[in-house]
């Protein structure tokens, strides 16, 4: 099937070339970081994780969210999702690959990364995260590819795959729960030390991931002549709505606990993010952008007429995605490290090379997604052509 990715229109190649050039720039930035050290980033003694780990955390959510299309299709036999299931699975493959790359570029001694396997540490949540993430990558690659290959050959997928499909479904939430546990079990980081961290992660994942699938599906309809089906988009946008409302509620619950209890240490990070602390207001505009995007998204998604209109739906889903990205990509990490253990504020701003590496990783993910989607769509459209010319409906 791989050959399907090797032929394409001029537009396709231009897009691939564009991604490759960003990957190249990111790679050059990484070589610089590899030579000089992580000092080329904006991270510091007090804010020792930054953009890389933030994007990693966000993308774990995007990866886990594939389950929101896979589960209804395989578990509840919801046929409408037949066409987009593969989009979900391949999105997961791209997202997990980005996650692994983000963790890798964050290491101070990347050449020693295999020490994680050499010196297995069952007491470290990082160890479990490595297991669940790599397992999830393999499962999605296996399930997505095998089902698509069967379709390519005009048969039904082999029955041995069934257990793997179900395993992938129950595996999906685990990757985000374990990632939340990286944070929520640390003493002395008040912003992270909350039991709703894992459910909040899941809710934001199950809204931002499907939102991305909706946007991509609407885009593919325009550029690739691929129609996911009105009903599928409609159901998916309802999933986005429920998950996003849950996420916003969980966030408001956090605010209640922090401010009604009056505990200073719980309030400080939230104050830093939304109004500034000790004269530091670095991320205030971003957090309010996230809040306004969230409010806009909820208005669009909750009103049926706006949710059903493709243009407004696309806008709503983009708003969900960006709002969640700001919340996790900026709020989570800087909020966790501010104030410092000394109750002081050390500002963090990513540097240009750091942003370059980040964009490079994102471009790698988009390239993987483009290639896999290209293959999937070609297989699906050739199947439709057979039906059209031979008049034989495909059994499978």
């Amino acid at each position: 099937m791989l050959e399907k990715a090797l032929v394409g229109s001029k537009k396709y190649w231009l897009w691939v070339l564009f991604l490759l050039s960003i990957i190249f720039i990111g790679f050059l930035c990484y070589l610089y970081q590899f030579k000089v050290g992580l000092g080329i980033t904006g991270m510091s003694r007090d804010v020792s994780w930054g953009f890389y780990i933030a994007n990693f955390t966000f993308l774990v959510g995007v990866a886990a969210s594939a389950v929101m299309v896979v589960l209804p299709y395989y578990w509840h036999n919801y046929k409408e999702f037949g066409k987009i299931t593969i989009l979900g699975e391949f999105l997961a493959v791209a997202a997990v690959t980005m996650c692994i790359l983000f963790v890798f570029v964050d290491l101070g001694q990347p050449m020693r990364v295999l020490n994680v396997l050499r010196f297995i540490s069952p007491n470290s949540i990082m160890f479990y995260d490595v297991i669940v993430l790599s397992g999830y990558l393999l499962l999605n690659l296996l399930c997505g590819w095998t089902v698509l290959h069967a379709e390519y050959k005009g048969t039904k997928y082999p029955s041995w795959l069934k257990p793997f499909i179900y395993l992938a479904i129950v595996w999906a939430p685990s990757i985000h729960i374990v990632t939340a546990f990286l944070y929520q079990g640390l003493p002395g980081r008040h912003f992270w030390l909350t039991a709703v961290m894992a459910p909040k992660f899941l809710a934001s994942a199950f809204s931002s991931g499907p939102a991305l699938i909706v946007v991509v599906a609407l885009l593919l309809k325009k550029v690739a002549n691929f129609d996911a089906g009105k009903k599928a988009i409609d159901t998916l946008s309802k999933i986005v709505t429920y998950a996003f409302v849950t996420f916003v509620l969980l966030f408001l619950f956090e605010l209640f606990t922090a401010f009604y209890s009056g505990i200073h240490s719980h309030q400080a990070p939230i104050k830093y993010l939304f109004v500034g602390l000790e004269g530091h207001r670095e991320w205030v505009p971003f957090m309010w952008t996230s809040a306004i995007l969230a409010a806009t998204a909820i208005i669009i998604l909750v009103i049926p007429a706006l949710r059903k209109n493709e243009t407004t739906l696309a806008l709503g889903c983009i708003a969900v995605f960006l709002s969640c990205w700001i919340e996790k990509g900026i709020g989570l990490i800087t909020g966790g490290y501010t104030p410092t253990p000394f109750e002081t504020v050390t500002p963090y701003r990513p540097t240009l090379p750091e942003i370059g590496i980040t964009l490079g990783v994102w471009a790698t993910g988009f390239l993987i997604m483009t290639l896999l989607y290209k293959i999937a769509l070609e297989v699906k459209s050739s199947k439709e052509l057979i039906v059209k010319y031979e008049g034989v409906p495909h059994k499978g």
């Binding site: 000092g39 396997l117 297995i120």
Partner: protein, 263 residues
Amino acid sequence: MAIKRRTFLKLTGLTLLGTAASAAVGNLLTRGEVKAREYTYPPEALTAKRWAMVIDVKKCKEGRDTCYAKCIEACHSIHNVPSIDDKKREIKWIWEDKFEHAFPEQADEHLKELFKDVPFLLLCNQCDNPPCVRVCPTRATFKNKEGIVMMDFHRCIGCRFCMAACPFGARSFNWFDPRPYVKKVNPEYPTRMKGVVEKCLFCYERLAQGKIPACVEACPEKALIFGDLEDENSEVSKILKERVSLRRKAELGTHPSVFYLID
């Protein structure tokens, strides 16, 4: 040809996977450790069940004008700690800070005023229940038999999970190659490379030679007291029975082994 390319690739893949899997399972069973011969301490070594430090902040304040923080100087020069003139990238094993930074949750106006000019020496607390050890994915940081939270600079992958886990900001990361920032290298102690975490190790290497930690030895006021917390008759145990002491963020349950005498 008897063997097709596809079959060859499949077999190669399976072999690699099998090797990796068996290595991983083997590692899990042995917990990745080859059982080494028990380390025997040289006869002159100082040993304890749980090393601890008591810092008399009043004495520290009294001597501060004349000692010029000899403890910090001694520690940092012996351990090749680079002096980097950038608050965000600095590396420190022991340093001075204000009361409200050392004990932010206790810092009301009266105490702040009372301890206004008192330097609080901060260092790794050598916690009895260390979160940094719990989170390390390679066991590069671990607690030894004497209660010291150790670091293997050669195993650390630089993920900085320990820095996120430490509630005391005791850990530093080498954002750059530290060697150009070490003024005079002490050949008796290793220098570090970029990309690894480091911190105070309670001078385990000096204890093995029968010497007390460098900071304790350097203090002319004898404001730093070092000893075995599990030994009833040690100086630290005796003094903690008599005087009022505080530990940083005791409510977090990490059980620090560094105590501050505040009376």
